[in-house]
């Protein structure tokens, strides 16, 4: 019982610049909406307990409780969360490769699960005509393909879950960024009332994420590119230093330094690079393995799907070199340290970590 609702959400999350625009607070009630890259409160709600506040990934996250619920163990101290296996993988499906961001693992796993009847569809992100991302429920292979590729702007995917009809019995998979997965993990820990049952929402596929770009970046895009023609956005890994927009006639790039002012400030307070509460987390193969994905398998549910995909030869796999794994861990640890530092500089003390409910020991370890 936190005794808080939308007014406090505004004060403690939105006004402080912590909102990731995950859509966790929207889509269920008439009071909060996502508009123009902001969460807008339309009317005064006087609830004493609001699910909007409760599920927001930037209000208190009891990391141990969530971890116990998903992995049966308290939140660990590893750099990339609870891990069964880490490896490199890519799709064997050329159609998916055409559209996918990196190795096409996300789309492939979902398409296998769909074909096997494990799921009826998946909650994903799709771009509209203006290339604005929004939550979308893909229910067949074509629709899964429509969702392949990424937008670097925040997508309020959780809103699509919140909008599911109460009576739905569909089995849906989920793809989202670490903040989306965090929100979903809170919902799974104490399932919402008056909404669709989300406990069967699986597999949860998390994407690695360094940061998103703010809504004003969209205006930048509109000014610099013909968005109607864009078919893919990419930020290739070091040593390249650009933001690329692919069109049927080729690639246009801008220097990454032009992009950095648009990085969402909220992402500076994010503790999670690898979507630690997902069943499977997927990132790029980085520069060394272009066209591949880095995959972290975390749960039994994830393992089942991977096994089927392997069995069907839908994906190919290779081990991740030690150096790559070390790089991944370092990057993830850096993100945690940076988040902690930013949080402390906002609150002015190590005793108040805003939303972050981690153990004293982990905190001390990271602060060293």
């Amino acid at each position: 019982m936190h005794g808080k609702a939308s007014k406090e959400l505004q004060k403690e999350v939105i006004d402080k610049g912590l909102c990731t625009l995950c859509g966790g607070c929207t889509g269920t009630c008439p009071y909060l909406v996502v508009y123009d890259g902001r969460i807008v409160r339309l009317h005064r709600c006087d609830m004493s307990e609001g699910q909007c506040y409760h599920y927001c990934p930037r209000t208190y996250m009891d990391m141990d409780a969530i971890s116990r619920h998903i992995f049966g163990a308290p939140y660990g101290e590893g750099e990339i969360g609870s891990v069964r296996e880490v490896f490199l993988a890519r799709s064997t499906d050329q159609v998916i490769h055409q559209k996918a961001q990196d190795g096409g693992i996300v789309t492939t796993l979902l398409s296998v699960a769909l074909a096997e009847g494990m799921i009826d569809g998946a909650v994903e992100t799709k771009l509209d005509e203006e290339k604005n991302p929004h939550g979308f429920i893909a229910r067949n292979r074509e629709e899964l393909l429509e969702c392949a590729g990424v937008s670097y702007e925040p997508s309020p995917v959780i809103q699509a879950i919140n909008r599911l009809p109460n009576e739905t019995t569909e089995k849906l998979g989920f793809v989202g960024l670490p903040c989306h997965v965090a929100c979903l993990s809170k919902m799974k820990l104490s399932p919402p009332t008056n909404r669709a049952n989300i406990e069967h929402l699986e597999p949860v596929i998390g994407l690695f994420c360094g940061w998103t770009l703010s809504h004003s970046f969209h205006r930048f895009l509109q000014e610099h590119f013909d968005l109607a023609k864009a078919i893919k956005f990419d930020i290739p890994h070091h040593p390249e230093h650009s933001f690329d927009v692919y069109t049927p006639s080729g690639k246009e790039s801008v220097d990454l330094d032009e992009i950095s002012p648009y990085i969402n400030k909220a992402c500076g307070y994010c503790f999670d690079m690898t979507a630690e509460f997902a069943d499977i987390s997927v990132g790029s193969g980085r520069a060394m393995f272009k066209g591949w994905n880095t995959v972290i398998l975390r749960t039994k549910v994830g393992a089942e799907i991977l096994d089927i995909a392997k069995g069907r030869n839908a994906i190919e796999i290779q081990p991740i070199p030690d150096e790559s794994l070390a790089n991944l861990k370092r990057a993830s640890l850096d993100k945690k340290k940076r988040a902690l530092k930013n949080i402390i500089s906002m609150t002015g003390g190590v005793d108040d970590l805003l939303y972050l409910g981690i153990s004293q020991h982990l905190k001390e370890m990271l602060l060293e």
Binding site: A5, T28, C29, P30, Y31, V33, Y35, D36, R38, V40, R41, L42, H43, R44, C45, D46, M47, E49, G50, Q51, C52, T193, N194, R195
Partner: protein, 650 residues
């Protein structure tokens, strides 16, 4: 409705004060009547218009008080008696014309009836118009009863002609809206010929009498005006409307006028002070019947003035006292200045009793505070009355408009706000309009003020501004503000909430309706054509189409360009209902879907949207439709987040 036009001299009819005024005008033989609707004055034209043709009168609802009064003056200048009626605020609107008309004087009787609203129950303020009469040297009569409403109106025409100037009659809400017995007089023969005599005459080339600023020397006309007005005190001196009741030498002299006189009479009788307190009633409040007042001032050393709003009579009497011969004793004055009479709001019997008791230094406790039984009974009765908070009617398109405006402003997120205007749209400043209206002053004020906000960009002002006015207020005084904004390139959006009626004051027609006061077809004036002729962006939305309305408002607000107009058009529900006689939808709440107070709704419909047609069933924890109130507009079905409110087309 009373038949004020019957030719039955000597009979007595029960009439509203406003109806009695209309009857007085008939007995005076008017040929011309104009008005702009405004509570508490509207029933005067409301009574005259339907019988106008039969009585050979031209009657007009004008688009504002200024043109109404100007038109009436034209009739007077052409030898036709004319009446113009309005509420207090209207006199401010006509002030410029009035000042100048006084310079030239008039020809045939011209009477301006103004209904003040003490307490301001249906007005933006509680302005007293009597000081205007004094300021402009206009004779003013102040009736106390329905009978006097009639008699004084008739007398005002004669006085107007005797003095060659406009004459004012001042009523107040209580008097205008209360019925009293009125003994009818004769209706004059119907022979009126209009002709404007002061046209250019080739053998006598000179400036017309009806141009102010004679030879560009206005002071010459001032001199004339003062000469004309100098005859007024003597007329008032012998007026039968002034009277005295009480002992020869009263301990206390009450001077009162208008409706307050009736309170004073009753108060004195309740206090049993008839032998000690005298009451001087003034029917001619400007100019004062100075001789009469001076005579009574001489008889008492205590004077109490009881009146509403301004201490007008009080101050005038004190001025008079200052000019009395030095040897005459000065009484002590009690009233609003001394704190013995409440300085604001409507007066009533109880207040009058308190005022008199305190000056006479006698104890008095009102029955309410004295009698426990009585108080209990009064409270019990009060509890049986349903609480009726001020709100938009069920089905009112303005509720939808303000809902859309509120959402658009929240989405826009730049602290935009609404500048409001008079009329039903004023409800936008309280909870039914979600408190959206943030400035609210006068007819046409919304767009005028917006025009100023829209020019503050150079000082860092970035808030979008939406001016709101009704269709009637648009015609009344918003057009110049809009043109000014367009010309000077001010950045604002004007939302005209067009419900095709002057609903606030009782559905008087206006140019947009195309029907005149007498029910004849006029030329319908198209708001959109008028706005488009300014070369600006004009959109028309049905406010019930919430999403389109919101989207349109958002685009308009984001546009940095000059003034734009969105017409939020939907017929006033009361008008629609009268025409169609049935509801468009059957609306009901599906209790299975309604989640009521739970998170995910929190009673949006009954707590925020608040149409009176929706009620909260506390026991069931569900919303329900109150079928007696619901008009089936179906808007709430679009507002409910759960699809729990169902609308079925009928």
């Amino acid at each position: 409705m009373a038949h004020i036009e019957i030719d039955a001299p000597g009979t007595t009819q029960l009439l509203l004060g406003n109806e009695a005024i209309a009857r007085g005008a008939l007995e005076a033989g008017i040929g011309f009547a104009t008005a702009y609707p405004g509570t508490p004055s509207s029933e005067i034209m409301g009574t005259l218009a339907p019988i106008a043709k039969k009585m050979g009168i031209y009657a007009e609802w004008s688009i504002n008080e200024m043109v109404a009064f100007e038109a009436a003056s034209a009739a007077s200048l052409s030898n036709i008696r004319a009446l113009s009626s309005m509420k207090a605020n209207g006199v401010n609107v006509i002030a410029d014309f009035l000042v100048n008309l006084q310079m030239t004087g008039i020809r045939k009787g011209l009477v301006l009836v103004v209904c003040d609203d003490p307490g301001g129950m249906t007005s933006s303020n509680e302005q007293d118009t009597r000081p205007i009469a004094k300021w402009l040297n206009i004779p003013m009569l102040e009736p106390s009863t329905a009978q006097e409403c009639k008699d004084m109106t008739k007398r005002a025409f004669e006085l107007s002609e005797e003095l060659g100037m406009v004459c004012m009659v001042r009523s107040v809400t209580y008097l205008s809206h209360t019925r009293g017995n009125v003994r009818f007089g004769r209706l004059p023969e119907n022979k009126k010929v209009a002709h404007f005599d002061d046209f250019y005459n080739i053998d006598d080339p000179r400036q017309s009498r009806y141009t102010c600023g004679m030879q560009f020397h206005p002071y010459k006309q001032s001199e004339e005006l003062l000469k004309r007005f100098a005859k007024a005190p003597e007329k008032c001196e012998n007026s039968p409307f002034n009277s005295y009741r009480g002992p020869e030498i009263p301990e206390l002299l009450i001077i009162s006028s208008g409706i307050c006189w009736t309170y004073a009479i009753e108060a004195v009788s309740i206090l049993g002070l008839q032998d000690r307190v005298g009451i001087l009633k003034l029917g001619t409040t400007w100019p004062l019947p100075e001789g009469l007042v001076a005579r009574y001032l001489n008889k008492s050393d205590k004077v109490l003035c009881i009146e509403e709003i301004e201490p007008f009579v009080e101050r005038s009497v004190m001025e008079l006292a200052a000019s009395l011969p030095p040897d005459q004793p000065r009484p002590t004055f009690y009233g609003k200045r001394s704190g013995h009479v409440r300085a604001w709001g409507e007066q009533n019997l109880n207040l009058a009793i308190q005022s008199i008791a305190s000056v006479m230094d006698i104890p008095y406790t009102s029955r309410q505070s004295q009698d426990l039984e009585y108080r209990r009974a009064a409270q019990a009765v009060a509890q049986t009355l349903p609480a009726r908070p001020l709100t938009f009617c069920p089905g009112c398109p303005h509720r939808a408009s303000f809902w859309a405006i509120k959402i658009a402003l929240q989405l826009d997120g730049r602290n935009g706000f609404v500048t409001g205007d008079i009329g039903c749209t004023a409800m936008g400043m309280i909870s039914p309009g979600s408190f959206q209206v943030r400035t609210y002053y006068a007819m046409g004020g919304g767009v005028g003020v917006a025009g100023g906000f829209g020019h503050l960009g150079q000082f860092g002002f970035q808030q979008p501004v939406i001016a709101v006015c009704g269709d009637s207020t648009f015609f009344h005084a918003s057009i110049p503000g809009l043109i000014n904004g367009v010309w000077n390139q001010s950045n604002f959006t004007l939302a005209i909430l067009d419900n095709s009626a002057t609903a606030m004051t009782g559905f008087q027609p206006h140019p947009g309706t195309g029907i005149t006061a007498t029910g004849d077809p006029g030329k319908k004036v198209s708001i959109e054509a008028l706005c488009r002729s300014l070369g600006i962006h004009v959109e028309i939305c049905d406010p019930f189409d919430l999403n389109t309305t919101i989207a349109t408002l958002l685009t308009m607000m984001r546009d940095e360009g000059p003034a734009q107009v969105v017409i939020l058009r939907r017929e006033c529900e009361l008008v629609r209902e009268r025409k169609e006689k049935r509801n468009p939808f059957r609306v009901y709440v599906n209790p299975e879907r309604c989640i009521g107070e739970s998170c995910g709704c929190n009673r949006l419909c009954t707590r925020v949207f608040s149409c009176p047609g929706l009620v909260w069933d506390r026991d069931a924890g569900k919303a329900v439709i109150d079928e007696a109130v619901c008009v089936g507009c179906g808007l709430c079905a679009d507002v409910c987040p759960r699809g729990a409110i169902v609308k079925e087309a009928l």
